[in-house]
Symmetry: C2
Subunit: 699 residues, 2 copies
């Protein structure tokens, strides 16, 4: 790394040439693909030329070298620039380079880790900087290696709040191994960014969050070089370089006449379009195709990574059958034990460790516990960054609050990242805190993540085992825990497989199957007792693996009992019931009768037991539903005079929820009749009384 603050002319000229090559190549590959974002790429060409040639420490022939820097393109749509850089260092050849965006090409519209030099998939703006913070946090706190994390951001993506969760984390943790370069090119997708080219506005914000800032001309090689040098040497705080640039061109700089592509320079409306008309002309204006090979500085030499041996034997907590414990407590104890034996496991928690169970890990392994405060997006980003470095992160908060970070979860799957999520306070059994604190969509949301694993323990020993299993899973995995106590029904040390289930009750004369997970398993067992009292034999399946679900056991139950009742402490959509239906359908055979019990009303405050009853997922409702199925379909029908009364079934639908706003004319009048002058109520006349009538189930 050069320490000189004034580059020699010929060095500057060479860097300029590299930058022009990156511009030319950005145009060439976009043209080949007939789509892409060459203008967003070209504005950052000078910045990347300097970084690549003088500051990045990376061995492109050995992406796994532990001392490698990390370069993250937060502005993933500048993929042409990134691929041009790969060409410049010789990592990819010309043919592959021109395959940009084609089917089966590794060079996708936005870079993904199909390329071994790419840490995480780009394309969702406002994620790169937070994930970069996660990698830097790993470097400083876990790896304790001196690599640097470089992030290239766009200006308008700084509007994303996740960046400010990241900014707070980075300065709080003193991440001076992180340098963010912001390409302030003024123009977003459809128009100017809020602050235009006012780098001082961005600088003020970063400074307030404790960062070191520099504002430069993003097309002045000298300024870029000096800024990178200063940023790399600055201790104690993360750095941001705010670079004023122009999309698609360079203005005059120094003693060189540099020409951009005048047709698109600084124009709105050309984001995401290749330079149209005459790419050859643009390439000529940029000085033509070049074949410069950039030598990148090697990574900082580090000792070979230690092979970590288990620090201690695995001593899981054990819970006595018949006792009661919450899944969150058992998870917490298992986590601490896991931390004892696996030195690569880390835990992140979102300001709720006293409630989620992670407090014991925090006490036992403070150097591997990361308090993330109320910033779930950054918590996920930190986990993703840490697994880039090979650590095994568990990110923990209330199930409901993972919805705050759902885009990061979605993109983790695109990145093939391995992260383990643990959501407590799931379902209405959370109790009197009310629906804001209850996870009721988590099974649906996490099932709809590519390649995910979704687990839902029903007792403490199962929670312990599944926690340990998750440590070994790739991809996104999710463990659903509860706030409330549940009976212990399994032995300590019982093994549970991903994709498995447990048949807890079965008999040759089973007439119906109850499929449950988590808290509803206990309700189902009690329902089976009620049914047995009435001479109905019910199979009970604990479907703790919601995804993948135990297809074989479910199909056998369908075949042998002919009637299925599923019951979950979750909305009806997308959870256990849908998983069961889907599994039964996948066999290519007709399905039996399936009755899905779930939470169909918005919960209010109530005790856990009241909740289950109010929501119609308690033992009595399950037994009634099962008995109805048996009565409806048993060969002889329900014996005369025999009425099975456990409790009335709650209302299945909630039409009042779909109440049309008081503002609108009735559908019969709209839209055709609007022309006839029917009055539309204006704003501010909406009645609160109307709102009250939408809450009947609680009154």
């Amino acid at each position: 790394m050069s320490t000189s603050f004034l580059l020699e002319q010929d060095v500057t000229r060479s860097l300029h040439e590299v930058a022009q090559q990156l511009r030319v190549d950005s145009v060439r590959c976009s043209v080949a693909a007939s789509s892409g974002h060459p203008t967003s790429s070209m504005s950052a060409a000078d910045l990347m030329a300097v970084l690549l040639a003088r500051y990045l420490r990376y061995d492109f022939t050995d992406p796994d070298a532990p001392g490698n820097d990390h370069l993250i393109f937060a502005k993933g749509h500048a993929a042409p620039l990134y691929y041009s850089m790969l060409r410049a260092v010789g990592a990819i050849g010309e043919d592959e380079f021109l395959s940009y965006r084609q089917a089966r090409s590794r060079l996708e519209g936005h870079p993904t880790p199909r390329l071994p030099w790419v840490d995480v998939a780009a394309g969702s703006l406002g994620q790169g900087l937070p994930i970069g913070v996660g990698v830097a946090l790993a470097g400083k706190s876990l790896d304790k290696l001196p690599y640097r994390v470089w992030v290239l951001c766009g200006d308008n993506e700084l509007a994303e709040g996740a960046n400010w969760e990241a900014a707070e984390q980075a300065s709080f943790s003193g991440l001076d191994n992180l340098t963010v370069i912001v390409d302030v090119n003024r123009l977003g997708q459809r128009g100017p960014a809020r602050h235009g080219r006012d780098t001082a506005a961005y600088a003020a914000r970063f400074q307030a969050f404790g960062w070191h800032t520099q504002e430069i001309d993003g097309h002045d090689i000298q300024e870029i070089d000096r800024a990178c040098s200063v940023a790399s040497a600055r201790p104690g705080a993360p750095s941001v370089i705010l670079a004023r640039t122009r999309k698609a061109g360079t203005r005059k700089a120094g003693t060189w006449k540099v020409s951009g592509v005048a047709a698109v320079e600084d124009k709105e409306g050309v984001h995401g379009k290749p330079v149209s008309g005459r790419p050859g002309e643009a390439i000529r204006a940029l000085g033509g195709i070049r074949d410069i090979r950039v030598q990148v500085a090697p990574p900082v030499p580090v000792l070979p990574a230690q092979r970590l041996h288990p620090a201690a034997p695995w001593r899981p907590p054990a819970y006595a059958p018949g006792s009661v414990t919450s899944a969150r407590t058992a998870f917490g104890a298992a986590m601490a034990a896991l931390g004892d034996t696996r030195p690569d496991v880390v835990v992140l928690d979102g300001e709720v460790s006293d409630a989620t169970g992670t407090a014991s890990f925090a006490a036992a392994h403070p150097e591997r516990f990361f308090e993330c405060y109320f910033a779930e997006q950054q918590m996920l980003a930190s986990a993703i960054g840490m697994q880039v470095r090979g650590w095994v992160p568990f990110a923990v908060t209330f199930a409901a609050f993972f919805t705050r970070a759902y885009d990061f979860i979605r993109m983790a799957a695109v990145s093939r990242a391995s992260i383990r999520l643990v959501g407590s306070h799931s379902g209405t059994s959370t109790g009197a805190d009310g629906p804001s604190q209850m996870g009721l969509e988590d099974l649906a949301a996490l099932r709809a993540v590519h390649g995910s694993t979704v687990l839902c323990p029903c007792d403490a020993n199962q929670a312990v085992w599944l926690t340990a299993v998750m440590a070994g899973l790739g991809g996104v995995s999710y463990l659903r825990t509860t706030r409330d106590d549940m009976p212990v029904i399994y032995q300590p040390g019982e093994r549970f497989e991903v994709g498995g289930s447990r048949v807890l009750r079965t008999a040759p004369d089973d007439e119906v199957t109850l499929v449950a997970a988590g808290v509803t398993v206990h309700e189902a067992l009690a329902a089976a007792d009620l049914l047995a009292d009435d001479g109905i034999s019910a199979r009970v399946i604990d479907a703790y693996s919601v995804k993948p679900v135990d297809v074989a056991t479910l199909r056998a139950a369908a075949r042998e009992t002919g009637r299925i009742v599923t019951v979950e402490d979750h909305w009806p959509e997308g959870g256990l019931g849908d998983a069961v239906l889907s599994a039964l359908a996948s066999g290519g055979q007709p399905l039996p009768v399936v009755r899905k019990l779930a939470v169909r009303s918005m919960p209010c405050s109530a005790t856990p037991d009241e909740q289950l009853q109010l929501m119609g997922i308690d033992m009595a409702t399950i037994a009634t539903a099962a008995a109805e199925l048996v009565g409806l379909l048993s060969p002889g029908g329900t014996p005369p005079g025999r009425v099975l009364e456990f409790c009335p079934l709650p209302q299945g639908n909630f039409p009042v929820e779909r109440k049309i706003s008081a503002l609108d004319p009735p559908m019969s009048a709209w839209p055709g009749l609007i022309a006839k002058g029917a009055a539309v109520s204006g704003p501010a006349t909406r009645t609160r009384a109307g709102a009250r009538s939408m809450w009947p189930e609680c009154e």
Copy 2:
């Protein structure tokens, strides 16, 4: 409103008494409920006493008065304080007050709009401020009324990035009708907040984002009063009052000895717990139960809300059958026409209006178009705030990016808010931009929202009609649009109902039903042609209403054809296929054979047509799947020698996605054998080569 900057002693004493009453009442109702957060309530008692008695302009007997201020408790767990305020103004009586957290009580764990004075449900930290910004934006830009929005926040919830999206929006829009009061009580759920009681740290951040800031002693009545007065009078920028407080007590202030509850004052670990042991003692220490009735200043008088009449007739765009248009284009044109006729409709877009179709509305109705930049959380919050004021907002971005704001969507349902979401670039038909830009989980995520409506148009005229329908829907509704062009198959002006569907092909000898939505409708129609060529009659259903789904039509199809193929440009979990299965199961009858086609591999870059083929949701795959079902189940079996070859079915599962990390010993060795010294690979040895092998479907 007093303009004096020095309160008279007796006024100050009275305000102190009100504050003590609020403290006493916070203790009393928490004790009655045996749960709750009295300490978080007590720290803000002085702040709220001053606000209530001297600055809030609100008629508690008329929550709908258009001139009313808005008070939002972002720190919703301070519900006891809020309910104590309602008691103090006489809005609720003693009996109801003591029903806090009981089943069926209106006074839930966190306030919800079941109470007519509450705008939005509280409880998810970091939402109140953004939603307050939305209400203030409505006040300034839409209602043009002088009410003020007051938001009470906690300190540690400021870590949530959404607040900084909000801060940027508020200052950019000059929302001087917004005052945020931050209760800086130092302690979060499980420990101190990052900045402790350092109000200057928070002030620097808000100032950098363009806010006016004041730092005060949150227990000094005079300082509170002065700060509120200054904030209310400050033009041009939003205001924040950062108040240093102590949880559960007040220190000495001025000439009064004020006593808190010493046992819990400023102690970690007592969040969320009622004052235990001797509540009577705490109440005595606070001066005992009081019955002060606070007179709140009336709202600013405003003219009665105008009844807005349609500005123009409804002139929807019309597309000729046989032409091709994208759903996003048709939606955009419909939106603009809707804006012409409905003066209460507003549109918000997240920096992608040139791609989503909202650019036409923006051009036609700039005063009702809100550019939200890349800040989806704030976009949703603004929409929620605007509908509080009776406006009819449509929030628009790429389908995938609604995942960024999923917590706001979840809480909108808890609030019974009416917001309309429109997600473009849905599915793999988005094309070469790659998976980061594709909505593949949106149907699942939006179905799992309580009371939601989910619509998926397959042609331009249908998109137009459904857009108009959404304007009249309550609750959360979602319209899924595409980037790519689709054939127009419906007539302009055809009507489509929520909960309906369209049978596009049917014949008495139908042997199989194809159920599709959006882009796959066209593939299904083409597949039906292929099947017809082979003598198989296929019914085709356009299930444009994914939630609620057309149960009757689906059951009829099941009954009459006995075989169903569902096909969606979406992951397999939680979308159309699951909706169909669920609908068929809800009838209490066995289900027919159902084959679900969906996206089962992670997409890469490819053209839209290539995507459908690669992902196995194109016409050939549909036809093959249908023919297999018919061949398998037709009474005579497949005629000998007849092989229906359309194309091979893609691999349904992707076991490599579940590849266990290279770090972990094989499951057979773990956890039991760890004790025997099996080495665990340490971090930083994870191979990128290993990562490459996880991407087979793209190679």
